[in-house]
Symmetry: C2
Subunit: 396 residues, 2 copies
């Protein structure tokens, strides 16, 4: 018998995928350059040239037996060392290779983090709006994802609601800053207050509450925004990182778990990740890709286009009267829709070839997401459509 | 709280790893070329030159946005098509891309296969001797792995024991042919009889029993051995394949699930794999690696060294009086030890710098495994040590 829960999932429709399919179909009609497709969070700049050169060089020069050989289950030691050295230098925290577990992108890293600290029935709290894949990621482990309602003022944390939802069943809190879908970066004040509550509640409940910090957008930070290192605020932090966005390398599925050096049992936790892997068929990211990213620590693709696009859109959206928190990073912006039902709003926008994603998808109805990881010229051309849409439909 | 089951796994020792560590340490003393290390199943020949060239060419010529872009969750369509076309041509079975799910090696493929057809408490039967990682692979899903005792005559299937162990809880049967650790290939007669029983029992129990066929050694088949396509014997077969051995590419973690075109709900099953991925953080093998293997379908590394080594060892072992089934493929051989306790036997062998793995590890005490994926010259040099060992310890 096929397992029904997976079969049933097949009939669930992904709003983002449907919108993206619409964009592709419409593109075939009128030319994709005329569809203002803000639906997908796909990096839009090439990998750094250096990364390509490193891979070609290794393929040409290295012994293929080593280059393509089995990686130990925690990752290739020299790669873990290079990452730890980079993190230590950047943060001043005593990261060593023993704190690093190589994973297949942030999804792979999160799959290990959740299993490290939760069992069937345990709860993980996260904050709306949130990346919708968190639901299958957590639910299919047997743990339960609970979503704290949003702080729509600034898309920081609704602490009052959060404290009410914490319970002895809470084993972990999952955050994502810079955030998908809002683009907002948590302030030091937010992180300090979060840490204070987690410490207090850990003592009250008599067990550690872990902070799982999903940081794929860490390197896409805009001018003047404070660069807060989440793991420096709270000892029991498990950071999940991916190079997908920073290196424009999403298909190569490379990232890591970095357990804070101050986390209780940090080194055991990394070793435990190696055991978790055996149960989920993970068995390391590919050797070639591990070895390549080790050589470009601290490098990124040219990410400046995202800030350029953000500034253009933020200016236009606020001028058109949208309520909108200014993003501090990522390639997303999350304005309030001009009518209560964002699904209706986004549907109307399609008539103007504007592909926007309703906030309902992210647990925050009434808002919509624009993923501006697209060409700046297209962003500029989209402004006219945006103005026409707003004026025609909402008389603004 | 950290999850205890993973913490407890840390203290379990891997016999193979310990032996391999011994070999490395001993190598530091006397030179690794003098340690006859038969412990590890690591390919010992380079990838085909063509595969390297394909990767370099793509890195140099292809648009990096496409080359390193997100792969759809079932795998890149053109890659799935290339594999299906190859399988269809090779077998005459109507494989299409809808039957192929790209996975991170055989471990990733098996992680999906187990979850497709079993839930907590369901049983999977496999046959001793078997790859010991099957235990964590299955146990950590919540299903139960039951091991049918070996047919030590020919290392085919002990059908009498098998039939006794089948029950309504049996949802899948897991086979591995060519086999690790015996090197034996299941005959057509074995596969026919297995299929007949599975069909009969599926009807009796009122639910399908799936055959999960783990085939990483499929391409390492020796002269004159029948090349049986497992999926052609039984409709409800889920094949799990890896390129690790055939292309000498183990670190790159690439393989696939191929659901038999004749399997009930075959296409749904592949779609379901995409859902399972969301729960285990799988998210596709890397794009570059997928695209590369698509271009070398039907190619392999030069695998002839394994047959050469097998012939040398088989001749010597039988001459020395070992009871030994002649391998039909892989790079393993599994002779009977010269005393009852193979652990003691293998410990004694270490004094002659022969690193052999006791069969207990594979659920088959009294035997030992030699992984002869090493240089032929070393195999030849090891014969003297083997003779000395046998003569001194067992007076043969």
């Amino acid at each position: 018998m096929l397992v029904q829960k997976y079969k049933e999932m097949l009939s669930a429709k992904s709003v983002i995928r449907e919108l993206s399919e619409f964009a592709t179909a419409r593109g075939a009609e009128i030319g994709y350059e005329n569809v203002f497709d803000y639906s997908l969070g796909n990096p839009s700049v090439p990998v750094p040239r250096e990364l390509t050169d490193v891979m070609v060089h290794m393929l040409r020069e290295e012994d293929p037996m080593t280059l393509h050989g089995y990686s130990p289950s925690l990752g290739i030691p020299s790669v873990r060392e290079a990452i730890a050295a980079y993190l230590a230098k950047r943060t001043g925290m005593p990261y060593r290779k023993e704190h690093i577990f190589m994973a297949s992108g942030a999804a792979g890293a999160l799959a290990h983090a959740f299993r490290l600290v939760t069992q069937r029935g345990d709860e993980i709290l996260t904050f709306a709006p949130f990346f919708p894949e968190y639901h299958p990621y957590v639910d299919l482990t047997g743990a339960v994802l609970k979503v704290v309602p949003p702080d729509t003022e600034g898309f920081q944390i609704h602490f009052e609601a959060f404290e009410k939802m914490l319970s002895p069943k809470t084993m972990a809190v999952l955050i994502n800053t810079p955030n998908n879908p809002t683009g907002v970066v948590y302030s030091a004040a937010t992180l300090r207050k979060l840490a204070e509550i987690l410490k207090r509640k850990s003592e009250e409940y008599g067990h550690d509450i872990y902070l799982i910090s999903d940081e794929p957008y860490r390197e896409i930070l805009f001018t003047g925004v404070e660069d807060n290192w989440v793991s420096s605020f709270y000892d029991n932090t498990i950071m999940c990182y991916s190079y997908s966005k920073s290196l424009s390398f999403p298909g190569e599925r490379i990232g890591y778990v970095a357990v804070s050096p101050f986390c209780r049992d940090a080194e055991d936790m990394v070793q435990m990740c190696g055991q978790i892997s055996r149960g989920i068929g993970h068995n390391c990211p590919p050797s070639l890709i591990q070895l390549a990213i080790a050589k470009v620590q601290g490098k990124t693709a040219d990410l400046s286009v995202y800030e350029t696009n953000m500034n253009i859109l933020y200016k236009e959206l606020t001028a058109l009267g949208f309520t909108c928190v200014k993003p501090g990073g990522t390639f997303y912006i999350f304005p309030k829709a001009l009518e209560e039902d964002a699904k209706v709003f986004c549907k109307k926008a399609l008539q103007y070839d504007l592909v926007l994603v309703p906030g309902d998808t992210f647990g925050c109805p009434g808002y919509f997401r624009m993923a501006y990881c697209i060409d700046t010229k297209k962003v500029e051309r989209s402004l006219q459509a945006l103005r026409k849409f707003v004026k025609t439909e909402y008389g603004a």
